[in-house]
Symmetry: C2
Subunit: 132 residues, 2 copies
Protein backbone atom coordinates (compact mmCIF):
# COMPACT_ATOMS: atom_id res chain seq x y z
CA UNK A 1 0.00 0.00 0.00
CA UNK A 2 1.35 3.41 -0.93
CA UNK A 3 1.68 6.34 1.41
CA UNK A 4 -1.34 8.26 0.21
CA UNK A 5 -3.60 5.24 0.50
CA UNK A 6 -2.33 4.45 3.95
CA UNK A 7 -3.05 7.95 5.19
CA UNK A 8 -6.47 8.13 3.60
CA UNK A 9 -7.46 4.69 4.86
CA UNK A 10 -6.27 5.56 8.33
CA UNK A 11 -8.32 8.69 8.28
CA UNK A 12 -11.44 6.72 7.40
CA UNK A 13 -10.68 4.26 10.13
CA UNK A 14 -10.53 7.04 12.72
CA UNK A 15 -13.71 8.61 11.38
CA UNK A 16 -15.45 5.26 11.73
CA UNK A 17 -14.42 5.16 15.37
CA UNK A 18 -15.79 8.65 15.94
CA UNK A 19 -19.04 7.77 14.20
CA UNK A 20 -19.39 4.57 16.20
CA UNK A 21 -18.82 6.25 19.55
CA UNK A 22 -21.19 9.00 18.55
CA UNK A 23 -23.83 6.50 17.50
CA UNK A 24 -23.79 4.97 20.98
CA UNK A 25 -25.07 8.31 22.25
CA UNK A 26 -27.08 9.30 19.21
CA UNK A 27 -24.54 11.90 18.24
CA UNK A 28 -23.21 12.62 14.80
CA UNK A 29 -19.56 13.50 14.27
CA UNK A 30 -20.45 17.14 13.92
CA UNK A 31 -22.34 17.08 17.23
CA UNK A 32 -19.33 15.48 18.92
CA UNK A 33 -17.14 18.25 17.55
CA UNK A 34 -19.66 20.81 18.75
CA UNK A 35 -19.55 19.48 22.30
CA UNK A 36 -15.77 19.24 22.14
CA UNK A 37 -15.38 22.87 21.16
CA UNK A 38 -17.72 24.05 23.88
CA UNK A 39 -15.76 22.29 26.59
CA UNK A 40 -13.51 25.27 27.10
CA UNK A 41 -15.34 28.11 25.35
CA UNK A 42 -18.68 29.90 25.16
CA UNK A 43 -18.54 31.30 21.67
CA UNK A 44 -21.17 33.10 19.67
CA UNK A 45 -22.84 31.42 16.72
CA UNK A 46 -20.51 32.99 14.20
CA UNK A 47 -17.36 32.04 16.04
CA UNK A 48 -18.70 28.54 16.50
CA UNK A 49 -19.32 28.34 12.78
CA UNK A 50 -15.73 29.31 12.13
CA UNK A 51 -14.42 26.59 14.40
CA UNK A 52 -16.54 24.01 12.62
CA UNK A 53 -16.05 25.40 9.14
CA UNK A 54 -19.78 25.94 8.73
CA UNK A 55 -21.91 28.83 7.60
CA UNK A 56 -23.79 30.74 10.29
CA UNK A 57 -27.05 29.61 8.77
CA UNK A 58 -26.00 26.02 9.37
CA UNK A 59 -25.36 26.77 13.00
CA UNK A 60 -28.89 27.67 13.95
CA UNK A 61 -30.24 24.18 13.35
CA UNK A 62 -27.20 22.40 14.76
CA UNK A 63 -27.33 24.33 18.00
CA UNK A 64 -31.12 24.14 18.18
CA UNK A 65 -31.12 20.37 17.88
CA UNK A 66 -28.50 20.09 20.61
CA UNK A 67 -30.44 22.56 22.72
CA UNK A 68 -33.66 20.60 22.33
CA UNK A 69 -31.81 17.59 23.70
CA UNK A 70 -30.61 19.64 26.65
CA UNK A 71 -26.92 19.41 25.74
CA UNK A 72 -26.23 23.10 25.16
CA UNK A 73 -27.94 26.37 25.93
CA UNK A 74 -28.13 29.75 24.30
CA UNK A 75 -27.56 32.81 26.47
CA UNK A 76 -27.89 36.42 25.43
CA UNK A 77 -24.50 38.00 24.95
CA UNK A 78 -23.84 40.52 27.73
CA UNK A 79 -22.02 42.93 25.41
CA UNK A 80 -24.00 42.68 22.22
CA UNK A 81 -27.75 42.71 22.09
CA UNK A 82 -27.74 40.87 18.79
CA UNK A 83 -25.38 38.15 19.97
CA UNK A 84 -25.89 34.79 21.56
CA UNK A 85 -23.41 32.75 23.57
CA UNK A 86 -23.56 28.99 23.37
CA UNK A 87 -22.53 26.93 26.38
CA UNK A 88 -22.65 23.31 27.49
CA UNK A 89 -25.28 22.33 30.00
CA UNK A 90 -24.15 19.98 32.79
CA UNK A 91 -25.67 17.10 30.82
CA UNK A 92 -23.80 18.22 27.72
CA UNK A 93 -20.56 18.39 29.64
CA UNK A 94 -21.01 14.91 31.03
CA UNK A 95 -21.73 13.57 27.57
CA UNK A 96 -18.70 15.36 26.13
CA UNK A 97 -16.51 13.83 28.79
CA UNK A 98 -17.86 10.33 28.38
CA UNK A 99 -17.58 10.58 24.62
CA UNK A 100 -14.05 11.84 24.72
CA UNK A 101 -13.01 9.06 27.06
CA UNK A 102 -14.54 6.44 24.77
CA UNK A 103 -12.89 7.93 21.75
CA UNK A 104 -9.57 7.97 23.55
CA UNK A 105 -10.01 4.34 24.51
CA UNK A 106 -10.93 3.20 21.02
CA UNK A 107 -8.19 5.17 19.34
CA UNK A 108 -5.70 3.88 21.86
CA UNK A 109 -6.84 0.37 21.09
CA UNK A 110 -6.14 1.04 17.45
CA UNK A 111 -2.72 2.41 18.30
CA UNK A 112 -1.95 -0.66 20.32
CA UNK A 113 -1.14 -2.34 17.05
CA UNK A 114 2.12 -0.46 17.48
CA UNK A 115 4.67 -1.04 20.20
CA UNK A 116 5.68 1.76 22.55
CA UNK A 117 8.56 2.99 20.44
CA UNK A 118 6.54 3.00 17.26
CA UNK A 119 3.68 4.75 19.00
CA UNK A 120 5.96 7.48 20.17
CA UNK A 121 7.37 7.85 16.69
CA UNK A 122 3.94 7.90 15.18
CA UNK A 123 2.64 10.54 17.57
CA UNK A 124 5.57 12.73 16.81
CA UNK A 125 5.12 12.42 13.07
CA UNK A 126 1.37 12.96 13.24
CA UNK A 127 1.92 16.06 15.36
CA UNK A 128 4.16 17.51 12.69
CA UNK A 129 1.49 16.84 10.09
CA UNK A 130 -1.30 18.54 12.00
CA UNK A 131 1.22 21.27 12.53
CA UNK A 132 2.82 21.70 15.88
Amino acid sequence: MNTVDAVVQLSFRVQRILAAVGAEHDLSIIQIRLLGILRDRQPGMLELGNHLGLDKSSMTGLVSRAEKRGLVERMPSPHDGRGVLVALTPAGRRLAEVGEAQIARRVTELLNELNATQRKQFTQLASVLVHG
Copy 2:
Protein backbone atom coordinates in the same frame (compact mmCIF):
# COMPACT_ATOMS: atom_id res chain seq x y z
CA MET B 1 -0.51 17.29 21.84
CA ASN B 2 -1.29 13.75 22.95
CA THR B 3 -1.38 10.78 20.64
CA VAL B 4 -5.14 10.48 20.40
CA ASP B 5 -5.56 14.15 19.56
CA ALA B 6 -2.84 13.98 16.95
CA VAL B 7 -4.45 11.04 15.20
CA VAL B 8 -7.94 12.51 15.33
CA GLN B 9 -6.78 15.90 14.11
CA LEU B 10 -4.82 14.30 11.30
CA SER B 11 -7.88 12.37 10.27
CA PHE B 12 -9.91 15.58 10.04
CA ARG B 13 -7.17 17.19 8.06
CA VAL B 14 -7.23 14.41 5.49
CA GLN B 15 -11.01 14.49 5.34
CA ARG B 16 -10.87 18.20 4.65
CA ILE B 17 -8.58 17.51 1.71
CA LEU B 18 -10.97 14.92 0.35
CA ALA B 19 -13.92 17.26 0.76
CA ALA B 20 -12.06 20.10 -0.94
CA VAL B 21 -11.03 18.02 -3.93
CA GLY B 22 -14.54 16.66 -4.16
CA ALA B 23 -16.02 20.14 -4.02
CA GLU B 24 -13.99 21.15 -7.06
CA HIS B 25 -15.98 18.59 -9.00
CA ASP B 26 -19.22 18.86 -7.08
CA LEU B 27 -18.64 15.52 -5.42
CA SER B 28 -19.19 14.64 -1.80
CA ILE B 29 -16.77 12.34 0.01
CA ILE B 30 -19.20 9.49 -0.31
CA GLN B 31 -19.46 10.04 -4.06
CA ILE B 32 -15.67 10.01 -4.33
CA ARG B 33 -15.60 6.73 -2.46
CA LEU B 34 -18.30 5.39 -4.75
CA LEU B 35 -16.30 6.19 -7.86
CA GLY B 36 -13.15 4.82 -6.23
CA ILE B 37 -14.75 1.48 -5.47
CA LEU B 38 -16.14 1.16 -8.97
CA ARG B 39 -12.74 1.64 -10.55
CA ASP B 40 -12.00 -2.07 -10.42
CA ARG B 41 -15.37 -3.65 -9.75
CA GLN B 42 -18.95 -3.83 -10.99
CA PRO B 43 -20.77 -4.79 -7.84
CA GLY B 44 -24.47 -5.08 -7.15
CA MET B 45 -26.22 -2.59 -4.93
CA LEU B 46 -25.97 -4.75 -1.83
CA GLU B 47 -22.27 -5.42 -2.26
CA LEU B 48 -21.69 -1.75 -2.92
CA GLY B 49 -23.52 -0.93 0.28
CA ASN B 50 -21.25 -3.28 2.18
CA HIS B 51 -18.14 -1.61 0.80
CA LEU B 52 -19.45 1.78 1.84
CA GLY B 53 -20.97 0.66 5.10
CA LEU B 54 -24.41 1.83 4.02
CA ASP B 55 -27.83 0.26 4.00
CA LYS B 56 -29.17 -0.91 0.66
CA SER B 57 -31.94 1.65 0.91
CA SER B 58 -29.29 4.37 1.04
CA MET B 59 -27.70 3.06 -2.11
CA THR B 60 -30.64 3.67 -4.41
CA GLY B 61 -30.44 7.44 -4.10
CA LEU B 62 -26.66 7.59 -4.08
CA VAL B 63 -26.36 5.59 -7.29
CA SER B 64 -29.31 7.36 -8.89
CA ARG B 65 -27.80 10.78 -8.32
CA ALA B 66 -24.51 9.63 -9.80
CA GLU B 67 -26.36 8.02 -12.67
CA LYS B 68 -28.29 11.20 -13.39
CA ARG B 69 -24.96 12.97 -13.71
CA GLY B 70 -23.72 10.35 -16.13
CA LEU B 71 -20.97 9.06 -13.85
CA VAL B 72 -22.22 5.51 -13.34
CA GLU B 73 -24.73 3.23 -14.97
CA ARG B 74 -26.97 0.44 -13.81
CA MET B 75 -26.97 -2.76 -15.84
CA PRO B 76 -29.20 -5.76 -15.29
CA SER B 77 -27.27 -8.58 -13.70
CA PRO B 78 -26.76 -11.38 -16.22
CA HIS B 79 -27.19 -14.08 -13.59
CA ASP B 80 -29.93 -12.73 -11.39
CA GLY B 81 -33.09 -11.15 -12.68
CA ARG B 82 -33.51 -9.15 -9.47
CA GLY B 83 -29.98 -7.86 -9.46
CA VAL B 84 -28.33 -4.79 -10.84
CA LEU B 85 -24.67 -4.20 -11.56
CA VAL B 86 -23.24 -0.74 -11.14
CA ALA B 87 -20.37 0.38 -13.35
CA LEU B 88 -18.48 3.57 -14.13
CA THR B 89 -19.25 5.32 -17.38
CA PRO B 90 -16.25 6.67 -19.30
CA ALA B 91 -17.00 10.10 -17.84
CA GLY B 92 -17.14 8.61 -14.37
CA ARG B 93 -13.83 6.88 -14.88
CA ARG B 94 -12.17 10.05 -16.07
CA LEU B 95 -13.48 11.92 -13.05
CA ALA B 96 -12.35 9.15 -10.71
CA GLU B 97 -8.86 9.33 -12.18
CA VAL B 98 -8.60 13.07 -12.03
CA GLY B 99 -9.93 13.12 -8.49
CA GLU B 100 -7.55 10.45 -7.31
CA ALA B 101 -4.61 12.28 -8.83
CA GLN B 102 -5.60 15.51 -7.11
CA ILE B 103 -6.05 13.77 -3.80
CA ALA B 104 -2.68 12.12 -4.19
CA ARG B 105 -1.11 15.48 -4.92
CA ARG B 106 -2.71 17.24 -1.96
CA VAL B 107 -1.97 14.45 0.47
CA THR B 108 1.58 14.28 -0.77
CA GLU B 109 1.89 18.00 -0.20
CA LEU B 110 0.76 17.45 3.35
CA LEU B 111 3.28 14.66 3.78
CA ASN B 112 6.03 16.89 2.50
CA GLU B 113 6.13 18.37 5.96
CA LEU B 114 8.14 15.26 6.67
CA ASN B 115 11.53 14.41 5.23
CA ALA B 116 12.06 11.26 3.21
CA THR B 117 13.06 9.11 6.16
CA GLN B 118 10.17 10.25 8.28
CA ARG B 119 7.78 9.75 5.42
CA LYS B 120 8.90 6.20 4.98
CA GLN B 121 8.55 5.59 8.70
CA PHE B 122 5.14 7.16 8.75
CA THR B 123 3.88 5.13 5.81
CA GLN B 124 5.03 1.97 7.44
CA LEU B 125 3.34 2.79 10.73
CA ALA B 126 0.13 3.90 9.06
CA SER B 127 0.07 0.69 7.05
CA VAL B 128 0.23 -1.34 10.22
CA LEU B 129 -2.65 0.67 11.65
CA VAL B 130 -4.93 0.17 8.66
CA HIS B 131 -3.92 -3.45 8.88
CA GLY B 132 -1.54 -4.73 6.29
